[in-house]
Symmetry: C2
Subunit: 667 residues, 2 copies
């Protein structure tokens, strides 16, 4: 796990370069040779594998290399006394080890790798390197890897699977059918990093909790309550709402417990951020940096912060307004048109066809919406990439929310047609659950197969002489051809977790918002989620490249979206109940009363939503606090580390390991 | 400010003992003499003042004495790098000074005084002290002050006013009529401590913000909108709700800014708690202590914590259930009976009389309710005294809420009689505002006058010979006769702030919940609050003993109560609007629809209230985090302090003050 095991070297990163055609010795300035030498110089273990059309440089890092990189990165790591301190190689014993005994988590290792491979800078004067016959100028102080990426010679850098661990997880988790909801979360955390482990922990807990409403819904469907039917439904409604409220509160507690178990300090994991390999988001100039650079005094600093903060809210408000307006003006009419057509058409087959066409059409819309959102987010002052990702999630979820529910609302609210509603819900759930799962798992495989086929064809074209069957001999090449774990909307801010969470959220909304109309949906979803755990696991372990680890320790924006959906479901179910009890249409509601009720609900929503948008702590207070905490930690790092690593901490008594050498500086 | 000024000694604590009749020299074992000697031994400056019937021992502490006490108490204080570290006398320069330049805040000084006067323990074998002819056994290791308090010889220990500062504040704040809302908050903080300063900051901001709805309400009252009237009211409703939501969010921000300005770390200020002088709440055995004592291993510790946490919720749930049930079963019928009688009786004078009788009757009920609540809270596991006080506030507010609003609800909801409602509201507001203010200020003065009169009479009785006019010569005796700043319900957990906040909360509920019925109420309240600032200031500065400082840095439970009142007001105003638009009674609402609406609102309330009751972080995670943070701070205290006090921190560069002497221990 720690890069280099006792018995074997575990390669964790692969760099892909094309095969060179020219085989002659060109003065040792072949750029790939230089790159490999540079990798070796920084302490990485290199293995070169020749594939069909590309060459793969597999990299492994001995523990010492990782440690040096971590120290250079000034990485903060949890220590035995619970707070995070800067890593120092000499005080290695002070730091908490991972559950599997290794020093660095996969996330930290990945950070170190990224630092190491980008550190290959030219310390000599400008050099001219060669690739085939192309000449590449490597300027002094420039990173070779980045240069080669720009030139298109380094095609990709990606994390590769650890075959032993992968196989172990595949059998103990993905293909272990004895238990559907308990998962080896610690191993998933060790192999995939925090965010993916949190996703599976959430999915597992969600599915386990789902058993209660699923059973209740099933009973409602199977048992004929007769005249009690109208009494049982409100009870079902109340209990599902209570169930959802309890579930999310307990999930927050579970999340906190997981963070504690993995020694993740919330503050650190949220401020580290998530950077896609090689492609870092351009950092915005925060006022903190500005004041540091310009040396502005304290009162002006506060003012600058306040201006920055309010300007940020303004920009986000503008962006949100744009998104909401465009959804209402552009998407809503389209969705309503579809819903109306669906209602008008009588033949079931045509309906199904229409739905298929519609599903394809909205794919395009979503793509456009996602791209728009990403452009908008670039003009926001989000503190780190995880916040930016959250901002994207909120914006894009608006799109999906409209897509998924407008049609259903149309049937439920305008037509008051319960049978159609139930039919639509069944179709949607079936469609989404079956299709999504099929799509999720077959698409990567098809992509992979196509790529493999193309690679073999290309090879055959080039080497017309060899007519024998061409086979992939290296595992790394197969992995290279597998698709990455990426989001359907954009690859910039989110990875495949976006789609997986989206699926969950849309399903949750569907079953909760129309709980009274279709109690059986919970049972469907429970079954689907059990399958989802397995298919997602198989997808991650067998179908895709190993994903880039993300440091975020919570489910982020999705939690708020789920909470919002609970709110919505309270309102929609109340409306459904009203229509259910009033099938004769006797209950009249005056427009005035309805308007007041709508106003009341909007105000309640504002009351509860508002605190999410305006934080309780002004930006300058928060910045001060963070600065202070960091400063304090920086100051006592050295001293503290020595005492932790030297002495016994569990008992609270510290025995210095060695006589300190009299240096007492706290630089 | 720091106990001893440059030119004069500021006495801050007074100990009251009765005058002795026996004047002879009884072997030097007179207990008061011994006490005074003990005070002098611990480093306090003592002045003895003979009053009419009592003797007053005034105490002042030089900075050194305070510093030693603070170090012994292991008091945590903010340092220049922002985190709180244990106070050490030798590293005094590392600690942030108060805005007025003193080292210790009033709250910290008070803690030190309490420690110092209770520290007067017997280091010799058991001694027999004398008071008049009574013999008192002072056992070895026992605190003399506590012994004498038990014997009834020390009548009271109370903080005394600092005449210079008091006069300055009186003129610059209480009697400064040029500006009603801006107050010298920093000076209030320095003189009265955090909690009172936060109260006045809140009151000031609330009053300033109140100007907007007050103006709007006034316009609504004065301008005749004619047919637009029914359009303007909903706008007024929406804008007051938005106003309230915005106000409380901005208040939270302001509170955070105040905490930052006064260098209060939230964690510390909430965990320190508030202990009434001499009478400390018996500390409950937390599982942390249990595990420490018994040496239980880690997994068991977690289990113990979880059991403790859930047991705590159970106990609190039971208590809340008791309170809610008794309010509904006992108070509700009584209140409804009063409201009905009020409605039935025609004569205005009888009505007024009835109200007066009723007001007296509910005083008794409140007393009983308060005592019950305090008994219940003793069976809860609240972490510290501030939490216990919050728990009391929630419980007792239930009582007051029913008292204040049931009658109004009765008129508004059952009778749909707007005129009566408006009349009731005016009466209530007038009554509460005028009566409360009168009561608040005259009662202490009457109490004080009566006590003074009695003291003089007693003196006269005893000294029948001297027929001359007896006058109070010492200021400390006058202060002793003044009432303390105590809550009307109980003196154990809350001080007078309870009544002041209660008044604000009830007023807020009254004006918000019936905003649509009586928009003018905002203007009344704005005027009242302006007066309230001044009368409260006069009360604190001139009418009462100086209050015991409390460390809490927020308005605590009251914030949640205000938030709850906003929620309530959204619902009540919607109902009011419905009845306003439907004066002909045309709008019919079927009982089924009404039931569903009620259910929906209850669910919405549960959704939002629930997260307040079940924290997002399990108790064991939180305890771990706290333990870790404390451990880390304890470990680096010495080292860090030396570097902060020695070097310049503002620029981030540290220059050691002196060559460290090679010791490198981190005990």
């Amino acid at each position: 796990m720690t890069g280099v095991g006792e018995d074997q070297i575990v390669y964790e990163i692969a760099v892909v370069v094309p095969k060179r055609n020219v085989k002659e010795d060109n003065d040792g300035f072949d750029c790939v040779e230089v790159l490999v030498n540079e990798f070796r110089n920084v302490g990485l273990v290199v293995e070169r594998v020749l594939g069909l059309s590309d060459e793969f440089i597999k990299l492994a890092a001995p523990l010492e290399t990782l440690g040096t990189a971590a120290a250079k990165l000034q990485m903060k790591k949890p220590t035995h006394i619970g707070i995070d301190l800067q890593f120092g190689w000499e005080d290695v014993e002070a730091f908490v080890r991972q559950p599997d005994g290794s020093l660095f988590s996969w996330c930290e290792r990945f950070q170190c790798y990224r630092h190491l491979i980008n550190e290959t800078v030219n310390k000599n004067p400008d050099l001219t390197l060669k690739f085939d016959h192309k000449e590449i100028r490597w300027e002094a102080g420039e990173s070779l890897l980045q240069r080669l990426e720009l030139e298109g010679i380094v095609k990709q850098v990606f994390p590769i699977h650890d075959e032993t661990k992968r196989k172990k997880l595949l059998w103990s988790w993905a293909l272990n059918c004895s238990d559907f909801t308990t998962q080896p979360i610690d191993e998933i955390y060790a192999y995939f990093g925090t965010k993916i482990a949190v996703y599976f922990a959430f999915l597992g807990m969600y599915t386990r909790w789902m058993i209660f409403p699923a059973a209740f819904g099933l009973i409602l469907q199977l048992v004929d309550f007769g005249s009690l039917k109208l009494l049982v439904l409100p009870i079902f409604f109340i209990s599902t709402i209570l169930w959802a409220v309890l579930f999310f509160q307990f999930w927050k507690r579970k999340n906190a417990a997981l963070s504690a178990r993995w020694h993740l300090n919330f503050s650190v994991s949220t401020s580290q951020g998530y950077k896609v390999l090689g492609r870092e988001w351009s950092s915005l100039h925060t006022p903190m940096e500005l004041t540091k650079n310009l040396g502005i005094d304290k009162t002006k600093e506060k003012e600058a912060f306040q201006r920055y903060e309010w300007f940020g809210y303004l920009k986000r408000f503008r962006n949100d307004a744009i998104v909401i307006l465009s959804i209402i003006c552009l998407q809503l009419p389209f969705e309503l048109a579809y819903a109306h057509l669906y209602e008008v058409i009588e033949s079931d087959i045509v309906k199904f066809g229409l739905t298929a066409v519609y599903l394809l059409a909205i794919q395009c819309f979503t793509q456009i919406g996602g791209k728009m959102s990403i452009k908008l987010i670039k003009y926001e002052n989000n503190e780190n990439t995880e916040y930016r990702a959250d901002s994207l999630v909120y914006k894009v979820f608006g799109l999906y929310f409209m897509q998924s529910y407008i049609g259903v609302f149309y049937h439920a609210l305008l037509h008051r047609n319960f049978m159609t509603l139930r039919q639509v819900l069944t179709q949607r759930l079936m469609l989404s659950e079956v299709l999504e799962n099929l799509w999720e798992n077959s698409l990567p495989y098809l992509k992979y197969s196509y790529k493999k086929y193309r690679a073999v064809r290309n090879k055959k074209k080039r080497e017309k002489g060899s007519t024998g069957k061409i086979q992939f001999t290296s595992r790394v090449e197969k992995e290279y051809l597998k698709p990455t774990y990426s989001a359907s909307i954009s690859e910039e801010l989110e990875d495949g977790l976006f789609d997986d969470f989206l699926e969950l959220a849309l399903q949750f909304g569907m079953i909760m918002m129309f709980a009274c109309a279709f109690p059986l949906a919970f049972a469907f979803s429970a079954l689907n989620n059990m399958a989802e755990i397995k298919t997602d696991a198989v997808k991650l372990l067998a179908m895709l490249k190993r994903p880039v680890p993300r440091a975020a320790a919570t489910i982020g924006a999705w939690l708020n979206i789920f909470q919002f959906l609970i709110l919505m479901s309270i309102c929609t179910n109340s409306a459904l109940l009203v229509w259910l009890y009033d099938q004769e249409g006797k209950w009249k509601i005056e427009p005035g009363l309805a308007a007041i009720l709508v106003m009341e609900h909007v105000l309640l929503l504002i009351k509860f939503g508002f605190s999410r948008f305006l934080p309780e702590e002004p930006a300058w207070v928060r910045a001060n606090r963070m600065k202070n905490a960091t400063q304090a930690q920086d100051m006592c790092t050295k001293q503290l580390l020595r005492s932790i690593s030297g002495g016994e901490t569990a008992s609270g008594v510290l025995i210095p390991r060695k006589k300190p050498d009299g240096t007492d500086k706290t630089d």
